[in-house]
């Protein structure tokens, strides 16, 4: 790392980005109160919310103009993800958006129909987490609502499509996870091959990590807000618990982690949009740090509501269960750390 590089360190959002943030903040606040989140369990998908989100242009904003989209960058998508996470919205926003973009990047006429369906939200697409091995099944995030899954098999990037999405497997985060048996998928389209296939797949994963990192920031912030309010009214021995440093200080650490995680995710998005080869390790850094922030943040947010925080009835439980239920979908942090370490080693003498 070159510490003396003269780069700007400007984290302020452009006006248009600010508008995206506000618009989607309002949208999720109106359309996705926690009652909607609860009602969607255990599948973790709300068709009505999805339709509204599509109406907002969410499924097209990140597509290139050539594919009928608005050509928004990862940064705008990350801002939407922050608000999506804040609401823990039961829609496959991240999976669908990054996979659609990967399909558009492949620019194969064979994909036109799928892409059109992805753009209008009728055909949900998702991304396989691991390379596909013949004869083995994979748990696919959003796999229980997706009709197509994009995966890397050897040096081929393949879109697997089924008539009907496989059944939900119930899970801690109440997301539409499903086992996909790729061998039995009805249709397969080779989307890209060789280096191009690997590059598209990697890019999709990087985008997924950045969007997930942003979503976890919003999620943790929601949990913190609930607990801050709780501690401002709960008393012990005649004082508010929020005046106790044993309570207040860990809460400040959550806020501190959130502030940093948000900036790292946005910075990672900026580099993906502008100089993707310059900081290839940033998406993983964003992912790991947000996962830590969410685990620590939602754990403590639940803890400082005492016994209540351990109950399903408390809304903080929604965030606690999803902090792991979402972050684990983007891979084991230790594996990411090893990758980041390899980058450090490779850039050192």
């Amino acid at each position: 790392m070159d510490l003396h590089e003269l780069r700007r360190q400007d984290y302020t959002l452009e006006e248009i980005s600010q508008e995206v943030l506000v618009a989607f903040g309002d949208f999720f606040r109106d359309q996705c109160p926690t009652s909607v989140v609860r009602a969607s369990e255990p599948l973790g998908f709300d068709q009505n919310l999805w339709d509204r989100l599509v109406e907002m242009g969410t499924t097209t904003m990140g597509l290139p103009e050539s594919a009928g989209g608005d050509g928004a960058g990862v940064i705008e998508l990350a801002l939407v993800a922050e608000e999506f996470g804040r609401a823990v919205a039961p829609v496959p926003y991240i999976e669908h958006v990054v996979t659609s973009r990967a399909l558009a990047a492949a620019a194969t006429p064979a994909l036109d129909q799928v892409l059109a369906g992805a753009a209008d939200g009728s055909h949900i697409v998702a991304l396989a987490s691991y390379p596909i091995q013949p004869g083995s099944k994979q748990l696919v995030p959003a796999g229980a609502v997706a009709k197509s899954v994009l995966g890397l098999a050897g040096d081929d990037l393949i879109l697997y499509t089924v008539e009907q999405s496989p059944a939900l497997v119930r899970n801690q985060g109440h997301t539409p996870l499903a086992w996909w048996d790729f061998d039995s998928a009805g249709s397969r389209i080779v989307v890209a091959t060789g280096a191009n296939a690997h590059a598209i797949f990697k890019r999709a994963h990087d985008e997924r990590m950045v969007l997930m990192a942003s979503a976890l920031v919003g999620m943790t912030e929601s949990a913190l807000a609930l607990t801050v309010e709780f501690t401002k009214t709960r008393e012990t021995m005649g004082v508010l618990i929020s005046t106790l440093q044993g309570v207040a200080f860990p809460l400040t650490d959550i806020a501190t982690n959130i502030a940093g995680a948000r900036n790292i995710a946005r910075k990672a998005a900026w580099f993906l949009d502008n100089e993707p080869d310059q900081r290839p390790e940033l998406p993983a850094i964003a992912m790991v740090y947000s996962a830590q922030t969410a685990t620590h943040g939602t754990t403590n947010a639940a803890h400082f509501q005492g016994g209540l925080g351990f109950t399903l009835e408390a809304d903080v439980s929604l965030y606690f269960l999803r902090s792991k239920g979402w972050s684990a979908l983007a891979g084991d942090p230790s594996a990411h750390l090893v990758d980041i370490g390899d980058h450090v080693l490779a850039s050192a003498k």
Binding site: M1, L3, H4, L6, R7, R8, Q9, D10, Y11, T12, L13, E14, S17, I75, V228, T231, K232, V239, L240, S242, T243, L244, Q245, A248, F249, L251, T252, D253, A255, T256, N257, A259, G260, A261, N263, I264, R266, K267, W270, N274, E275, E281, L282, I285, V288, Y289, Q292, S334, L337, V338, D339, I340, G341, D342, H343, V344, L345, S347, A348, K349
Partner: protein, 405 residues
């Protein structure tokens, strides 16, 4: 948002080169050796050399001894200084806090020569806030100043007055009304340290940084050295304290560090690079490169994540985060190096420049000076989370005063 490389035009590139060359001339090996041995955070030759060109506080107008630098020119300067040794520049930062108070409160005929001397590197100022009985509660300062006509008599002692032994003045917090509510009985002075009755004694820290205890025994100071109103010291102090806590700084041009702990992160970065270079050229007991060892890879990855956390967390939160990152990661990185990681830079078989060995010792102080991380967490609790203030017996009352009377 913008993280792009700044494309310097010819004029700026020339300035960058000029600065780089001049700094290379100034920062000779004996300068580093001296800092290593004494830990002054200061060097007369460097400060006067920079000051001669208006480059010590280049953001100041030339008429005030600066160089009219724009924020971009300033950033170029700071990055070039970082390439040398940030430690030596410590007193520059320390002086800049009282300088703003002097500029604001002292009559200009008094202030101007003082500020000019500072800008020219001929005077530095230190902070006389903390006392032996406790530094977190600055408003509880006990050093007494008593007025008699135009003169004040000062008695008591200050601890941790870093740089007092190289400074011309100290920015002193005194108690002038022990019976008033504690924030309303404080007066600030700029005390010339060569005044009779001032005794300075060195204290060594395990980072190598020197600090001091300063005794004031019937020190006579003219009222002209008072800064701000009598018993109005708290509002005078607020400006510099807020600056130290980086409150209300405009950063929209992207030319300042976001985190006030960014400097701590540079020390962590030095250690990360050192460990990576060591791993790349070291063979482990099993005959494989240490760079292939999963422990090394994972811990270096974790250290870089923490580095990013430190520099990407804004303001006062960044100070806490960067300190935590450095404290934890420096210890872990040192473990990776094994026994050789314990050797300081000039010992046989020490690793790299001993940056990791140093980082672990240096880290500890970062949680304490400039206000401890607990004091900062208190600020964050109130100002970021909006949590209510705790009420302690000494929140409003000057307890030492009460006990005495």
């Amino acid at each position: 948002m913008d993280f792009a490389l700044i494309d310097l035009d010819e004029e700026h590139r020339a300035l960058q080169l000029e600065i780089r060359e001049y700094l290379t001339e100034l920062f000779t090996p004996d300068v580093f050796a001296q800092e290593h041995e004494f830990g002054d955070g200061f060097n007369k030759k460097v400060y006067e050399g920079l000051g001669a060109r208006g480059w010590l506080y280049p953001e100041l107008p030339a008429t005030q001894g600066g160089a009219d630098f724009t924020p971009l020119q300033q950033r170029i300067m700071d990055l070039e200084l970082d390439r040398q040794d940030a430690r030596i520049m410590m007193m520059r930062g320390t002086s800049s806090l009282p300088m703003s108070a002097v500029r604001k409160y002292m009559p200009s005929d008094m202030a101007e020569p003082i500020l000019k001397a500072c800008a020219q590197g001929q005077a530095v100022m230190c902070l006389g806030y903390s006392e032996p009985d406790g530094g977190s509660d600055i408003a509880n300062a006990k050093v007494r100043a008593v007025q008699d006509g135009d003169m004040w008599t000062i008695n008591g002692s200050k601890m941790w007055t870093t740089g007092a032994h190289v400074s011309t003045y100290t920015f002193l917090v005194t108690r002038t009304d022990p019976d008033a509510p504690k924030h309303k009985g404080i007066t600030m002075f700029l005390v010339p340290l060569d005044t009779p009755g001032v005794t300075i004694q060195g204290i060594r820290t395990f980072s190598g940084e020197r600090t001091n205890i300063v005794y004031y025994e019937d020190v006579q100071i003219h009222d002209r050295y008072r800064i701000g109103g009598v018993n109005d010291g708290w509002s005078v102090l607020h400006g510099p304290l807020d600056a130290e806590h980086s409150i209300g700084v405009d950063m929209s041009d992207g030319l300042t560090d976001l985190s006030i702990g960014a400097g701590f992160c540079k020390v962590l970065a030095g250690s990360i690079v050192e460990v990576a270079e060591w791993a790349n050229k070291t063979t482990g007991p099993d005959g494989r490169s240490m760079a292939e060892d999963t422990r090394v890879r994972e811990r270096l990855g974790a250290a870089l994540v923490e580095y990013e956390a430190g520099i990407n967390t804004p303001g006062p939160m960044g100070r806490v985060r960067a300190s935590d990152a450095l404290v934890k990661q420096s210890a872990i990185l040192q473990d990776l190096l094994g026994p050789a990681g314990l050797l300081p830079m000039d010992e046989e078989g020490s690793i790299g420049n001993g940056d990791t060995e140093y980082a672990h010792r240096f880290a500890q102080g970062t949680g304490t000076y400039g206000g401890t991380v607990e004091v900062f967490r208190t600020i964050i609790a109130q100002h970021v989370l909006g949590l209510p203030k705790a009420s302690y017996p000494g929140s409003k009352v000057f307890l030492a005063g009460k006990k005495k009377s």
